[in-house]
């Protein structure tokens, strides 16, 4: 193999991939015909495409880039990672069908519009928009940064990370602004399948490199027997009352079962995020959600995570050179065509979530915030064009942050999932729990955000910058920020709901409650199974990702120096067992309990009572003036604070 042929494969696959993305962007643009269907593909995405995009964007490159690296570095101490497929699927089972019905009834296109219609809360709209921006810039930006560095590594430095980042960002920007949601959907299906295939490819290559599954486990057993590395095969306890990472004079243990529970909660944030809602509301039918959540996400991708990502991570434990970049570097020498294909598959997975996040964030900022507040007379064509500009600015911001402010990017990316998990309470209020009032949902989300930020570096670094040192670090008591946030969120929701008027909903909310009550009433059989379902879910959460993980340490043989009954670490076997049970549980909830089962119904649009339309242009001009002045004042304040307190 000559040097030239060795190096040509990655660019070759890269050009092919770019050509494919632009081809599908063109197809999508031609089908869009005009700007009317840019944001939601005319609510006509076929269910199977929506199912694939939901699964692919939930998995994205995160499990390959982050999950496998976490296992390689710290072992199997966070088994919630291996339950990722089921944890990611559960929110969709709870929410998607009902969100789709509500969106069809009220003709909604985004999560922000849902909150505005149901709760009449601008705060929730802003939170939803902010979370989508966090996903677009932080969460996807972190993955894009990793991919850019990988490309640079694989080209031997010929292409710098910045150049790789710019090219990847440009292709991403190109297909999102050309084809809108339709391009994100069409390409997303291809990207998801490519990502799944690449996941299998990495796992297969890892097994080949370590000499097979038995050899891998023999090596793991040898490591488990040593004192220095034995802890990698154990959940270290239920909880440790430490002050959190970065405090207590050292690094606190994060491999407790409550950390796992919190991580599972964070993963459950993705499908409560505005990104998932965007796909759901762009779909032509709700009939694919049950099958998608059960078989595609929890089943196929869940299995790929529980087994494939675990194999890749375990190979990294045995041989640190078999990390993801290490594997690709070896492939580049031995089989450059596979290296090119697998790298592009990884890029596709990352671009999938990045494209969706950019579109959602652009729409949220322009259509849900700017237009209703500052320029209600904006035409559809101008709205779309402005959204394209905003997407360009967000892409540029993300690329710049990847290389100029990676620490800030990491801090932003790490709060995206826990913050999105805080949206569970308003979504539960909209879809299931009518007793959650508007003040309760707003207060709950506010407290939840505070809970997350105060237990993540982003929050305590900002406070530290302002001179306020918190006595705890990241994830105090080894409890994940998503769980801290939800504890505060739930407490506020319960208290405020108990003391506020439950009949003070607006017309749309009353209509939503009536519509869901009358159309999606579950059958008698499903009704009788409700208590069983609750028990099953709680039991699964307890044993698969919660305190019961402790039993997994020894259920299938001694973790250290003993016999492994099924030829693999006990905690890994435990995770595989509960993945299978998790798929069964997802099926049970989706179909037996009818939470995501197919339901055919023609849904007429809701016609609100006619209201007089006032001319808001004067108010909007005033708001815009206030915004500019506030922005300038905030900027000046930040500069002043930096000079005063900055180090």
């Amino acid at each position: 193999m000559t040097g030239l042929s060795h190096e040509m494969w990655l660019p070759l696959f890269g050009f092919l991939y770019a050509a494919v993305t632009l081809y599908w962007a063109r197809v999508a643009a031609l089908q869009n015909r005009n700007t009317e269907t840019f944001f939601s593909a005319g609510h006509s995405l076929p269910p199977w495409i929506a199912v694939l995009v939901l699964a692919g964007s939930a998995i994205s490159g995160w499990f390959l880039l982050g999950g496998a690296a976490e296992i390689s570095a710290h072992g199997f101490g966070l088994p919630a990672l291996l339950q990722g497929g089921v944890a990611l699927a559960l929110p969709g089972v709870f929410f998607f069908k009902r969100i789709w019905f509500v969106a069809q009834r009220l003709r909604l296109s985004s999560q922000g519009e849902l909150f505005r219609s149901y709760y009449h809360s601008e705060f929730l709209v802003v939170v939803s928009a902010a979370i989508s921006v966090l996903f677009a810039v932080g969460f996807a930006g972190l993955q894009l940064r990793a991919v850019s560095h990988l490309i640079s590594l694989l080209t031997g430095g010929t292409v710098s990370p910045l150049q790789a980042g710019v090219v990847v960002g440009f292709v991403l920007f190109g297909y999102v602004v050309i084809g809108g949601m339709r391009a994100v959907g069409y390409l997303g299906a291809i990207q998801t399948l490519l990502l799944g295939a690449v996941l299998i490819g990495f796992a297969g290559f890892a097994l080949l490199e370590v000499g097979g599954f038995r050899t891998l486990n023999d090596a793991l057993r040898a490591l488990a027997a040593e004192d220095a590395t034995g802890a990698r095969f154990l959940v270290s306890g239920v909880i440790h009352f430490t002050a959190g990472l970065g405090r207590d004079g050292g690094v606190a243990l994060t491999s407790t079962s409550v950390t796992s529970l919190g991580l599972a909660f964070a993963l459950m944030g993705f499908q409560a995020s505005p990104l998932a809602a965007k796909i759901v509301m762009s779909t032509q039918s709700a009939n694919g959600f049950g099958a998608g959540q059960t078989w595609v996400l929890a089943g196929v991708f869940g299995g790929l995570i529980a087994f494939g990502v675990a194999v890749i991570g375990a190979a990294g434990i045995v041989d640190p050179n078999l990390s993801l970049p290490g594997m690709l570097a070896r492939l580049a020498e031995a089989s450059p065509w596979f290296m090119g294909w697998m790298t592009i598959g990884l890029v596709a997975g990352v671009q999938l979530v990045a494209g969706l996040a950019l579109l959602t964030a652009g729409e949220a900022l322009v259509r849900n915030l700017y237009k209703p507040w500052f320029h209600s007379g904006l035409s559809r064509a101008d709205t779309v064009n402005l959204t394209r500009i905003v997407i360009g600015v967000l892409t540029l911001g993300s690329v710049l942050m990847q290389f100029l402010a990676p620490v800030a990017l990491s801090a932003l990316g790490s709060v995206a999932l826990p913050l999105a998990f805080q949206l569970w309470t308003p979504l539960l209020g909209t879809t299931w729990l009518r007793w959650i009032t508007r003040p309760a949902a707003v207060t709950g989300v506010g407290f939840g955000i505070a809970g997350v930020l105060l237990t993540e570096p982003l929050g305590y670094q900002i406070l530290s910058f302002l001179g306020l040192e918190l006595p705890w670090g990241r994830w105090p008591w080894t409890i994940h920020s998503a769980a801290w946030g939800m504890a505060a969120n739930l407490a506020a929701v319960l208290i405020v709901s108990a003391i506020t008027n439950r009949r003070s909903f607006g017309e749309e909310a009353v209509e939503v409650q009536r519509f869901l009550r009358e159309t999606l009433r579950i059958g008698e059989r499903a009704h009788a199974l409700r208590s069983t379902a609750w028990s099953v879910v709680l039991a699964w959460l307890f044993f698969a990702v919660g305190p019961g993980l402790i039993f997994g340490n020894y259920a299938f043989g001694a973790a250290k120096g003993g016999t492994w009954l099924v030829g693999m670490p006990s905690i890994w076997a435990w995770s595989l067992l509960f993945w299978v049970l998790g798929v069964a549980m997802t099926w049970f909830l989706s179909y037996a309990l009818e939470m995501a089962s197919p339901y055919r119904l023609e849904i007429p649009p809701y016609s609100p009572p006619p209201r007089l339309r006032r001319d808001h242009s004067a108010d909007e001009r005033e708001r815009l003036r206030i915004l500019v002045i506030s922005g300038a004042a905030a900027f000046a304040l930040i500069v002043l604070t930096t000079w005063s307190f900055g180090r």
Binding site: V20, W24, I49, I190, L194, G201, S335, F338
Partner: protein, 141 residues
């Protein structure tokens, strides 16, 4: 077929060839690079899987290969065949690779004939290539 169904079919076709086709080509190249017949065989198998999956998708959407797909397929086959013949003519091709190449082209030709026969029947498949002269056509009329 509606444009939406056409797009759905296109997405599936791209996915099939993007996964099985490229993977098959990779294994084929790997087999040639290592002169390993068995590895090449895996690649050939994957390309056959992609071909069969493509035909299944065509059947589901009640459509045949598009003109573009046919041109691309025949063009790619031609280029690969030319490269194989040139490599063989240059000499020094390992025996394993020679047999792998023969298997590859043999399987593709057999697969193509099988496809025509299953889609059009024996007589119909022949008619796809049998161009009738004007006088015969007129006499039949």
């Amino acid at each position: 077929m509606s444009p939406y169904a056409n797009v759905e079919r296109g997405i599936l076709v791209f996915s099939i060839w993007g996964v099985f086709g490229v993977l098959g080509l990779g294994f084929l190249l790997e087999g040639f690079a290592r002169s390993a017949y068995f590895v090449s065989l895996i690649g050939i198998g994957l390309i056959v899987v992609a071909f069969v999956a493509h035909i299944i998708v065509n059947a589901v959407f009640n459509q045949g290969f598009t003109n573009g797909e046919t041109a691309l397929g025949i063009g790619a086959l031609g280029v690969l065949a030319l490269m194989f013949v040139l490599a063989w003519a240059e000499g020094g091709m390992p025996e394993q690779n020679f047999y792998a190449g023969l298997t590859f082209f043999g399987v593709l030709v057999a697969g193509f004939i099988a496809y025509l026969v299953t889609r059009y029947g024996l007589r119909g498949a022949f008619s796809r290539f049998h161009v009738k002269t004007l006088s015969v056509a007129e006499s039949e009329r």
